[in-house]
């Protein structure tokens, strides 16, 4: 019901300069593995593995600088950014709706869930020509691919989340006079929030993967195309520069999602269900 003995750290957290130092130290510890990785990469490239396959961090940084200062990358960024946002939003919206409906109705679930799983298992990459026919080679086919990937993850998480809601709380709220809309808003969504948030976080990288796979299949502009072209024009630094930009997307989105999650799920860390270091 209450926190396990964290009071002892209150003192240090409150203490002016010491606290700032501690915060800095924490960040350092966080960055350490990344820095170590970078150093190893720099060392290994050209030694353990040829530079044309993995480039070097320094070369990647130089290439990044070049791309941004020449402005060459912006149109790609702009297209891919649009695709990502659209794909993600559409996928999440669809996933939440479908997951919620099937989660609420076990009859619908029994009928449709196996089909959803089956469609989910179709390797979309095998259907590339179909995607082109249906959605064109522009931003449409990438948005479609990304939103399908996002949809499945969000769908399954929302579905599981809704099904895991405590039936007694639902019944009580119904007795109190809730209609379906109110029930959704006051009980199901908050109760399923941990699953929903998990689905939305898992979906972030998958929207990226979907867009990139889409751009690898056909495209006129976009980061995926840029990476592909860099790869076929013997520019490994360009490939990794593209990947770094994608990682930037993912990391920023993840940070935002983390912040939203912490806000929405504040009640959980207060209660007994937070992380345990035991």
């Amino acid at each position: 019901m209450r926190e396990v003995a964290p009071r002892s750290s209150l003192a240090s957290a409150g203490g002016g300069l010491g606290a700032i130092g501690e915060k800095a130290l924490q960040w350092l510890v966080k960055l350490l593995p990344g820095v170590a990785l970078l150093i190893f990469w720099q060392w290994a490239s050209g030694r353990l593995i040829k530079e044309i396959y993995v480039s070097k961090p320094t070369a990647v940084v130089a290439r990044l600088y070049e791309l941004f200062s020449s402005g060459e990358i912006y149109p790609h960024l702009w297209i891919t950014g649009q695709e990502l946002v659209l794909g993600y939003v559409i996928g999440v919206a669809g996933g939440v709706l479908a997951g919620y409906s099937l989660g609420r109705s076990s009859r619908l679930a029994r009928i449709f869930e196996p089909y959803v799983m089956a469609f989910y298992g179709i390797p979309k990459i095998a259907l590339a020509p179909l995607f082109i026919i249906w959605f064109g080679i522009g931003i449409g086919s990438k948005v479609a691919l990304a939103s399908i990937m996002v949809f499945f993850l969000v769908f399954y998480n929302v579905f599981a989340g809704v099904r895991s809601v405590d039936r007694e709380l639902v019944n009580l709220t119904l007795i109190m006079g809730a209609n379906q809309r109110q029930l959704t808003y006051h009980v199901f969504l908050p109760a399923a929030a941990p699953f929903v948030m998990l689905g939305m976080r898992l979906a972030i990288p998958y929207s990226v993967i979907g867009v990139i796979v889409g751009e690898f299949t056909s495209s006129v502009q976009g980061l995926g195309l840029f990476i592909h072209e860099a790869s076929s024009t013997y520019d490994p630094a360009g490939v990794f520069a593209g990947i770094v930009i994608l990682l930037g997307f993912v990391t920023v989105a993840n940070l935002i999602a983390g912040a939203i999650e912490r806000r929405l799920l504040r009640w959980r860390t207060l209660s007994g269900s937070g992380p345990i270091d035991a």
Binding site: G136, F216, T217, S218, S219, H228, S231, S232, G238
Partner: protein, 321 residues
């Protein structure tokens, strides 16, 4: 005003030489065109699907996949031959060369017979590369089905990696891959197919395909594109070094300039026909396809399909001007 033409490319490799040259020198501009090149790494099937869907005006593909599609009833027509010789090169790893005990200077049958037991890498199975590999094996007196193995290995860069990591013994790709392997010291060009086999020296190897029926408007667009391609081809023939430099600067900035230069030089003879297809070349292409065992499910006749499957009308019109 500038008119836009959209060309779909199954793989952004250097072998589509006139397109690179055209873009590097911008031979489109004098025609009042702006060219957009859509990359369709999904392969020729994707490029043709995009053509079918109207997302692109012209698809740059190999004739084999085009013939397959037509055999299935797709309304496509070859309007220009980008490359009129097979530019593929057989590249084998140094290791394999030593094991097999052959040199690039050995007579052809000996070189090819040495391929027994080799594993080839190809960017896609059932494509031109696999066909060429098996055809070469047959030329060397081997059983093309069982004496060599062909594996699908994604992209050219992945194939290079596979060769270096000794996952494969050989590959069949267009320049500059062979030169790059030689410079990296991982492989040796054993056979330059288009230069060493007469059958392969004269046949449409990469073509521009349009969707029928061709309306007057698109006919005009195709005509202008063909004009631009011819100008680009002429430039390649006239001053290969400068064109190579332009291509390298603009599109292959990070690649080895010398490899690009060698590649352009070695492939330049392929654009000599300026896009013209003749019955003999078409025949050669069909023969080659038959020899490599491509079964389209339909017999094509080289001469009879003129102006249906393929046409010189745009090339001829360009010359007339």
């Amino acid at each position: 005003a500038q008119q836009a033409v959209r060309i779909g490319l199954g793989a952004p490799t250097l072998s589509f030489l006139p397109i690179w040259s055209g873009r590097a020198l911008d031979t489109f501009k004098p025609q009042g065109l702006t060219a957009t090149v859509a990359a369709l790494p999904g392969g020729d099937a994707s490029a043709l699907a995009a053509l079918d869907a109207g997302d692109i005006d012209l698809a740059a593909v190999g004739p084999d996949s085009m013939l397959r599609a037509v055999a299935k009833g797709q309304p496509f027509e070859i309007v220009y031959s980008l490359m009129s010789k097979v530019t593929l090169q057989l590249v084998v790893s140094k290791d394999f060369l030593e094991r097999a005990g052959v040199k690039p200077t050995d007579p052809m049958p000996k070189r090819l017979a040495a391929l027994k037991g080799a594993t080839f890498g190809a960017t896609a199975l059932a494509g031109a590369q696999e066909a060429a590999a098996r055809w070469l094996a047959a030329q060397g007196g081997l059983d093309p089905k069982n004496d060599i193995k062909v594996a699908q290995v994604g992209s050219p860069i992945a194939i290079q990696a596979a060769l270096e990591a000794k996952r494969i013994d050989a590959f069949v790709l267009s320049p500059p891959e062979g030169f790059l392997a030689e410079r990296a010291g991982t492989g040796v060009v054993l056979v330059s197919m288009g230069d060493e086999f007469p059958l392969l020296a004269k046949q449409p190897y990469l073509v521009l395909v349009a969707k029928k029926p061709i309306s007057p408007a698109s006919s005009e667009l195709i005509q202008k594109t063909v004009n631009a391609m011819q100008a680009a081809s002429a430039a390649v023939l006239d001053k290969p070094a400068e064109v190579a430099e332009a291509i390298q600067k603009q599109f292959f900035a990070k690649a080895d300039p010398q490899a690009i230069a060698s590649a352009v030089k070695s492939m330049s003879s392929g654009v000599a026909e300026r896009g013209r297809i003749d019955v003999e070349g078409m025949k050669n292409a069909l023969t080659f396809n038959k020899e490599v065992g491509n079964n389209f499910g339909k017999e094509f006749d080289a001469a009879a399909t003129k102006d249906d499957l393929w046409t010189n009308s745009f090339v001829d019109a360009a010359k007339a001007k």
